[in-house]
Assembly symmetry: C3
Homo-oligomer: 659 residues x 3
C-alpha cells in the first residue's frame, strides 16, 4: 500500500518490537489491543540496528518479516525506519572515530543516540549498507507505506573531518579568502586569514567572537546533515521510488535549518510534546496550545500539504520540569488540535512502555502493567474512534492569506550577534506575540522563511527581521508594490547574510517602502516601559525601541515618554499599490491584536469565523473537495460560547459545510 492511497487518518505509534521478541504473549496481546484502539499504523525499527546486526556482518531480519506480516494480516500499516539514529556498541568499540566531537574538541564515548559525526565516511557506508538491506527486503512489502529516515536529527560535530569539509564548503561559498575576509570583517582584532586552511570552527577555547564564522558553521553543518539524509533517501528510494520518505522533526534549534530540510521530504513529520497544565496560569492552556499550534502551522506551511504528527504522548513525558498527567479530555483536545492544524495522523511514542532505560516512564499507550483498564488506554481508544469518523479529512488543506516570517538564518544571527541585551534576546517570544495576535484574529497563518514565496499572501508580518538574505529587500518591495501589506518591526534590515552591517540607516534599502530611517535603537530595563496612543487607546511597549527619522511615512502613533517622546512608534506608508507598516517597539498583546484586526480588514482578509477573540478558544480550518471543516476548540476547563455555539470545557466542535 502506498501512503497516498490510504483513505484514512493514521493512528498508531512507534512499536519497538525488538524489546519484546522473547515475549510472544505480549506481541499477541499488542495486536489485540491495537485493533481495539483503532490503531492502523505502527513505526518499526527506529532503534533496531543492534537487533538487525548484533555482530558486524551478521544480519537478522526474520523477526521483522514475521511481525510485519502479522501486522499486515491484521490491517495495520507499517512506517519503516532506518536505524541510523542509534548505533550498536560493537560499532564504536571498533570504530570510535564515528562518534561526534563536541565544540570543546572532545570526542564522545559510546552512549545515548544521534551523536555520530555526519562527515564520517565509514558510518555513512555502514548506514547506507543497512538501508539497502532493509529496502531490498521491505520496500515492496505491502504493509510498508512510508520510510522514516533516522530519528530526530540533531547536533553538531567539530572533528577534523568536519573541519576539512567546512573549509571545502567555505571555499565553495566565498571562492576566495579575500571575499571571506571582507564578509567576516576580519581586519578587526587582526584576524585576517591568508588561506582557508587557517579556519577552525568556533570553540569555547578558540573563536567565539566572529559572528559570520559562527553562522557559517551552523549552515555548513545543517547542509552536511541534509547531505547525510539525502544519502539515506537515495539508498531506500532505489528499491521502490513510490514509497515516500519523511524524517521526524522536533525542534527549531536542532542544528539544522529545518525549513530547508523540508524541501527534501515528500511528507513533513513532527514530534510534539506540549507541557500541558504546566503554564504560569495553570487553569489556562491557551499558551501551551499556541506553542503546539505554532509547530503544526510551521509543518503545514512548508509544503502546503498535510503533515504527520509522528510522535506525541497520551499521558506525560518523563523529562519535563514537572511531568504532569494529561487531564481528562486533554488527550482528545490536543489530538484534535493537531488534526485541525493540518496533521493527517495522531501517533505516539511509544506503543508500550519499555521496562528499562532512559524513557521507561515516558507515557505510552500501554503501561508496564499491560492493562487495558487504564485511563490512558481508554483515552487512546476514544481518539482512535474519532479519527475513524474523520477519515474524509485525509489530505484536506488549509489556505492562508497571512504569513509570519520565522527565519532560521535570522534566528541564529540574532542569537550570535552582540547588542541590545546580553541574555534573553527573546526573538522567539516576539515572533509568538505576533503569532498569537493573528491566531486571536481567527485567520489561518502560514509560517514561512525568507527563501519562500511571498506571492499569494495578502499580509506578511516579519518581526525583528534583523538579517536580510540576498533578495529579501527586493521581495518585500515587490510584495508591497503589488498591493500587499508588509509589517516590519524594530531592529530589521541591519545586516546581510553574513552578519555584515549595511552602510545605511535600517531597514536596508527599504527606507522608501516604509517611509523611515532608523538612527538608533534603545533598550529599556525590566520593568521600564513607554506608551503610545493608537485609535484612541493607550498601549504600553517594552524592551526595544527604534528611534527613527521620518522619511515620508504617516506616524500612526508616537512615543509618549523618554527623550524620544514624539518620535514614531507605529507608522504606515503607502507604497505602490500596498502598504508598509513599521512597529518601532515591542507593544503589548492587546495592541497587536487590535493592530492586526485593523490591517487584516484593510487587506480584505476574512476570518475563519466572524467573531472577536473568545478567551481560550482556537479556531482552525481545513478544506477539501468543496467542503470546509471549521474546528472550534476550547482550551478552557469551563464552557465558552463563540458565535452562539457553546463549547464545553476542553471540547472540540467541528463544523462541516460546503464552500
Amino acid at each position: 500500500m502506498r501512503y497516498g492511497e490510504i483513505a484514512a487518518l493514521l493512528h498508531g505509534g512507534d512499536y519497538n518490537v525488538e524489546q519484546w521478541l522473547d515475549r510472544p504473549d505480549i506481541l499477541a496481546e499488542d495486536i489485540r489491543l491495537m485493533k481495539k484502539a483503532g490503531v492502523n499504523v505502527v513505526t518499526l525499527g527506529v532503534f533496531a540496528w543492534a537487533t538487525y546486526e548484533p555482530r558486524e556482518g551478521e544480519f537478522h531480519f526474520e523477526w521483522l518479516d514475521k511481525i510485519m506480516n502479522t501486522l499486515w494480516e491484521n490491517g495495520i500499516y507499517v512506517i519503516l525506519a532506518t536505524p541510523s539514529g542509534g548505533k550498536p556498541p560493537w560499532m564504536i568499540q571498533k570504530y570510535p572515530e564515528i562518534m561526534r566531537v563536541d565544540k570543546n574538541r572532545i570526542r564522545h564515548l559510546y552512549g545515548e543516540r544521534e551523536n555520530h559525526c555526519n562527515s564520517n565516511l565509514l558510518y555513512r557506508q555502514k548506514v547506507l549498507g543497512m538501508d539497502r538491506l532493509l529496502a531490498q527486503r521491505y520496500a515492496n512489502h505491502p504493509a510498508v507505506i512510508l520510510w522514516h529516515i533516522s530519528n530526530e536529527m540533531y547536533g553538531i560535530c567539530h572533528c577534523r573531518d568536519c573541519q576539512r569539509n567546512f573549509r571545502i564548503w567555505l571555499k565553495e561559498k566565498y571562492q576566495t579568502i579575500e571575499n571571506l575576509n571582507r564578509e567576516y570583517w576580519s581586519c578587526f582584532w587582526s584576524h585576517h586569514y591568508n588561506d582557508f586552511q587557517e579556519i577552525e570552527s568556533p570553540a569555547p577555547h578558540g573563536e567565539t567572537a566572529v559572528h559570520g564564522l559562527a553562522l557559517d558553521y551552523q549552515r555548513f553543518y545543517s547542509d552536511l546533515s541534509m547531505d547525510f539524509l539525502q544519502g539515506e533517501i537515495d539508498a531506500v528510494k532505489a528499491y521502490n521510488p513510490h514509497i515516500p520518505v519523511t524524517t521526524n522533526l522536533f525542534h527549531f534549534n536542532c542544528g539544522i535549518d529545518i525549513a530547508k530540510l523540508c524541501r527534501m521530504l515528500a511528507i513533513v513529520s513532527w514530534d510534539s510534546y506540549p507541557r500541558w497544565h504546566c503554564g504560569t496560569n495553570p487553569l489556562s492552556e491557551w499558551e501551551t496550545a499556541l506553542e503546539a499550534a505554532f509547530g503544526f502551522d510551521f509543518c503545514r506551511s512548508q509544503k502546503g500539504t498535510p503533515f504527520l504528527l509522528m510522535e506525541s504522548t497520551p499521558s506525560t513525558t518523563n523529562n519535563a520540569a514537572v511531568c504532569k498527567l494529561k487531564r481528562p479530555g486533554m488527550h482528545m483536545l490536543s489530538a484534535m488540535e493537531a488534526i485541525a492544524s493540518g496533521a493527517d495522523s495522531v501517533q505516539y511514542f511509544q506503543w508500550r512502555k519499555s521496562r528499562g532505560a532512559y524513557e521507561k516512564f515516558h507515557g505510552a499507550v500501554i503501561s508496564h502493567n499491560g492493562s487495558e483498564e487504564t485511563r490512558v488506554y481508554r483515552d487512546v481508544c476514544a481518539v482512535g474512534k474519532r479519527l475513524d469518523e474523520l477519515s474524509a479529512l485525509k489530505g484536506a488543506k488549509t489556505k492562508s492569506s497571512v504569513a509570519l516570517l520565522y527565519d532560521w538564518n535570522n534566528m541564529r544571527a540574532l542569537e550570535e550577534q552582540k547588542s541590545l541585551r546580553k541574555t534573553n534576546r527573546e526573538f522567539d517570544e516576539i515572533i509568538k506575540e505576533h503569532y498569537e495576535a493573528l491566531v486571536r484574529n481567527y485567520v489561518s497563518v502560514d509560517i514561512i522563511d525568507q527563501n519562500m514565496e511571498f506571492d499569494g499572501y495578502g499580509l506578511i508580518a516579519a518581526p525583528m527581521l534583523y538579517m536580510f538574505l540576498p533578495g529579501t529587500s527586493e521581495k518585500i518591495r515587490r510584495f508591497v508594490e503589488q498591493g500587499g501589506i508588509f509589517v516590519l518591526t524594530f531592529y530589521s534590515g541591519l545586516v546581510n547574510e553574513n552578519d555584515l552591517a549595511f552602510e545605511c540607516m535600517p531597514p536596508y534599502s527599504l527606507n522608501d517602502v516604509f517611509g523611515l530611517k532608523v538612527e538608533e535603537t534603545d533598550v529599556l530595563m525590566e520593568g521600564e516601559y513607554n506608551t503610545f496612543l493608537y485609535c484612541g487607546e493607550r498601549y504600553k511597549a517594552t524592551t526595544y525601541f527604534d528611534l527613527a527619522q521620518e522619511n515620508g511615512a504617516s506616524v500612526l502613533s508616537a512615543y509618549e515618554r523618554e527623550f524620544y517622546a514624539g518620535m514614531p512608534a507605529i507608522t504606515q506608508n503607502h507604497f505602490g499599490k500596498g502598504w508598509g507598516y513599521y512597529i518601532a517597539c515591542r507593544p503589548e498583546q492587546k495592541f497587536l491584536y487590535q493592530f492586526y484586526r485593523n490591517t487584516l480588514r484593510q487587506a480584505g482578509i476574512p476570518a475563519i469565523i466572524d467573531s472577536e477573540y473568545v478567551e481560550d478558544v482556537m479556531v482552525k480550518e481545513r478544506v477539501q473537495n468543496g467542503e470546509k471543516y471549521v474546528f472550534l476548540m476550547n482550551f478552557a476547563t469551563t464552557a465558552r460560547v463563540i458565535q452562539g455555539i457553546e463549547l464545553a470545557g476542553y471540547e472540540t466542535k467541528i463544523l462541516r459545510s460546503q464552500i
Copy 2:
C-alpha cells in the same frame, strides 16, 4: 588501653601535631590546655604522611613516639589514624597514575586530598606498607585505643584500571552479557552489548542515560572503596587484633553505601557540622537540630551500639554559606544532642587552628592567638566537665520500636531515574518530613536500609521506596503478616534493583498487603496542592499524587480536588496480624504528626515522655544497667515547659531513673 575498657565518654579532637614540631613551647602549652579542658583523647596522624616519609623510603616516627608518650603520661588516649587520606607531593610527582580520573576522563593533578584511585595497586602497596610500619610500632602502645582508617572517604574514579575492575565486577554480578542486557533493557536506543569489554562507566560525553549502568557504577565504586578500606583494616589488625577500627563518615552522598560500610567497622564514627543559627527562621534551631539528629540516629542504628562524634567544631566552620559563630549555650546543647542520640564522645576538628592553608579559619579549640581567655575555650572546658559527670553513660544503648527506611540504593536510583520532576526530586526532604513527625511524637527512631532486619520493630515507615531490592517485598509482607505496621507512600515498588520496571501496578507484589494498585502518578507545580480530610481535619498535600485503584483497602481519606477527587489519599489495610498503610501523596507536617500519633498508639509503642510535641523541644533516651537517661533538649532561645519541667533557652536536662 583498649577502647572498650575506658569507663568515660571521650572528649578531644584531631591533634595535627606535625604542624608544630618546631614549636616545643606550643606542644607543652597544648598539654596544659587539654588537661584543663578535660580532654582525654586526641587523634594523631590523619595527614602525617609527608612527615612520616618526607622522601620515598625515608621514615621518621621518633616525633610521634615522643608525643604519644607525653600524651600517655598525661592521661590522654590516642586514636591513631592511617594517613591514606593525604599523599605527599613526591609520590604524585613520581607516580601520577595514583591520582583519580574524573568522569570527564581527566586525571587530577596533585593537590587537595582523598583524590587517589582506589584501583591503583601501587597506591595500595604504599598505603599498606605505611600502615604496617605504624601498626608494628604503635599497635601495642598503651595510649592507642582505636585505629582511625583514612579520612572522610569520598568520591569516584573513572581511570582505565577502574574500568577493568568494573567489568570484572559486572561479570561477577550478571554472569552473562545477556543477563546484563535484559536488566539494562539495552535494546532501547540499540545499546545491546555483545561483550563486557564494550562497557564504559558513565561520562558526560558518553553514556548518561542507562540508569542501571549508572547505579552499578556507583555500587562498584562503593564496593571498591570498601575493599580498599578492608585492606587497611587487615594491615593494622595483624599487629594487634584487640584494637578496634573505625573510619569517620560524614555524608550520605559520598560515593559509598555507608550503611554497608558500617558492617565492616567495630565502631561507627561521624563528623557533624550543623549550620546552627542559619536556618530560614534564624530564631529557631529546630530544623538544624533535626538534621544533626538524623545523622546521629543513623550512626547509632547501624550497629545498635554507641558511635563516636569524631569531628565537630566548638565555633564555626570556614566553608559555610554564612560562617556564623555558635551562640552562647549552643556548644553545650549540640554536644548534649550527640550524647543523647547515642554518641560516646565529643571530638573536634581540630585542637589548634593551623596558621595557613585551606582550613586555617575553621573553628578550633585554640585559636591563632593561643589564648585560654576566649569564649570558645571556656565553652569547651564546660563540655569537658559535663562529659566527665556523665561517664556512666559510656556504652548506654537506645531501644527503638520504630524504624525509618532510608536506603542508599533507593536514593541513588531516585536520583538517576527520569520522571516526576526534572530537578529537586526531594527524596531527602520527604524522608525528613516523616522523620520529623516521628521525632515530634517523642519516640526513638532507627534509620535502617532494605538489607537490615525488620524484626523487632513495631512500626516501619518507608517513604518513596521506589526501588525494591530482592527480598524486600517478601520482608514487608512477612513483617505485616506477623503483626507489624508498615507505612508505604506514593511512588513505591516500581522497579527492581537494576531500575527495571516491574510488570504490574505498584507497589510490586504487595497489592494485597496494602489493598491497592497504583495506575498513574501525578505531579503538581510549585504552589498547587490537593486536600483531604483525616479524623475531621482538612490537610494539604503537594507535589506527588498516586492515582490508585482500590484493591480491598479501607480508604481513610480521599482527595478532594483535581480530576482524581474521590480517589484514595490515605488507606489502611488489615493483612495477617498487622496493617499496611499507604500515603498516596505528600502531606503537610501536621498531618504526618497526627497520622503517626495514631499509628504509634495502634502499634502500642509508648513515647519516651508522655507529652504532645512542645515546640523546639527534642527528647532522646539512652539505657544501661537498668537505668534510663531521658534527655530533654530545648532548641529555643526562650524557656519551654514539657510535662511540668521547665527548660531555659538552649538548656538540656537529663532525667535519670530506674527502668
Copy 3:
C-alpha cells in the same frame, strides 16, 4: 610633537583605519568629520598586525605612512599602538604554542585577542621585532605623541613554560623549599614539598586549596605580564626616548597588579564604560557616577598627575546586560566627570563602527550610516567644543589630603581565603561604601595601596585590610604617631603577605595603636542586623561583626543586639600625636557619612565646597598655576542647588578662581 608640549586636552579615539583601506571616500570623509568634531588625536594600529605583516616576514607600512601624514597635515596627533594584543591567524597556524593554556590545562585555539602566553619566547621575539620596525619608522614622526603598548592586558596562562618560570620566581622569592613550606603551611593535608619541581600552578582538577600558592601564581603572572610590557617599552624607547609610553588599563581584576604596573608608565590610561541609566533606581545616576569616579581617582592617584581617558563610548556598549543609549546630556556630563577627576582627554573606542565582527554595534562616533546628522555625532561635537574651551586645564593636578587603601594583594587574598561567607565577600562593595561617604563629604580622595607612601595625607581609611604586607603595620603606626587619623575596620590584620595567620589577636601588632584585640568575627545572614548609637543617632550594621576585647580604646559606640551587645562597635584611640579609629562592623552609609564628616573636621581637612551633601551632586577640583577649577556636577535629571548655585539636570558648572 611630544605629548607634554601639547597645550590642549585631547579629544579623539581609536581609528582602526586598516578596516577601510579600500575606501578612500571614507578616509577622506573621516578627516572632515574629525575636524568638525574637534578631534585632535587618534590612536592607530591597535589591531593592525595582520595588515602590517599579512604573511610571515612580508611587511606593509606604506598605508600607515600615508594616513599618518594626512592626519598630521590636518592637525591631528597620533597615539601609535604596538599590535601585540591581536595576532594574525598565520602565526598561530604555524606556532600554536603561542596561545595561552587555561587553568584546566587546555591550550586555546586561534581566536579572539589578548590570549597569548607571556612566557612564550617566540611570541616575544615576534612582538619585539614588530615593535622595532614600528619605532624605527615612526618614533620620530611629528604626529606621534605617545606609544600605546598592547591593549587591555588581561588574563593568565598555565602552560609548561609558565610553570617553569613560576618555579624560578618561587625560588627567587623563598630561596629554600623549607621557607615556602612554612609560609604555605604545607604540613596541612600532607602537602609538604621536597623540591620546587613538585609545584604546579592551581588547577580545578589539581590544587585549589592552598591560598598562598594561589596568590603567588597571581603575583608571578602579574610580574610576568609586566616583564612582557617592559620588553615592549624598551623596544620602542630605543628609537626615541622622548615619546612617553602608556597602556590602556580597564579592570581591577585583570590578572595584573595594575597599581604596580602604573609605576612603569609615563602616563596612566584608562578605559571607562559605565552602565549609565541601568542602575537599580534608573532615575538616579549617582551610583554609576561613583563607580566611574572610583576608576578615575585610582588612575590620577597612581602618579599624582593627569591620566588619559583612552576609551569610552558616546553611545552605548554592545555587551552590557542592557545596552541602553546614553540619554541627552549624559555624554557631556560623563566626559566632564573624567576631566574633573584628572583626565586630560576624552577618547572613544572607536571612531567609526566596524561593519562586521564582535563589536560592530559598540557605540562609535560615526555609525554604519556614515551620517553626521545623528544625535551621537552632535554630542561628540559639543564635547569637542567644550574641551577646547578648557585647554588651560591640561596638566592640572588634584591635591588630596585623604586616601583610601584599595590594595590588589589584599583584594586577591580576600577572594581566595575561606571564611566568613562562601560567596559574595563584598570587599569591593565595602571599599566603595567608604569611598562614597568620603565623596559625599566633598573632599578629594586618592586611591592608594599598601606599597605607596602614607606621608602627606591627613586621613587614611583602610576598610577590611585583611592582609598586612611587610612594613604595613609599621607604616600605620608611624602615620598615627606623627599625627594622622587612620581608620581601620573589622577583619583587618589577620594574615601576612602569604596568607599565613599571625599568632595574635588582630589587628596584628597594632593592638596598642587601635586600643583593642579582636577575639572572633561573627557573620549575619541576609536580612539580619545589629544597631549602635553614635552622636545620639541609632545606626544599623550588617554582615560582619568583630568581637573585640578592649585594650585602652574609647568605645564611641557599642553593639545593642546579639550576644555581643555592649561590645565595641566603633572605637577611638589616641596614639602618639594621632588617632586610630576602628569600625568593628559594616554600618550603613549614613553613619559612614557622619563618621567621616566628624573625623575630617578633627583632622582639619577642608572640603572643596562648604556644603552638606546635596543628593546627586558630585564635586571635584583641579589646580594649576595658582588657579583652582571646581567642578559641580549634577547626576540627577532635575535641577539641584548647591551653595546657592543652581545646576540643571545633568549640568556641569566649572567655577574658576585664584587660589
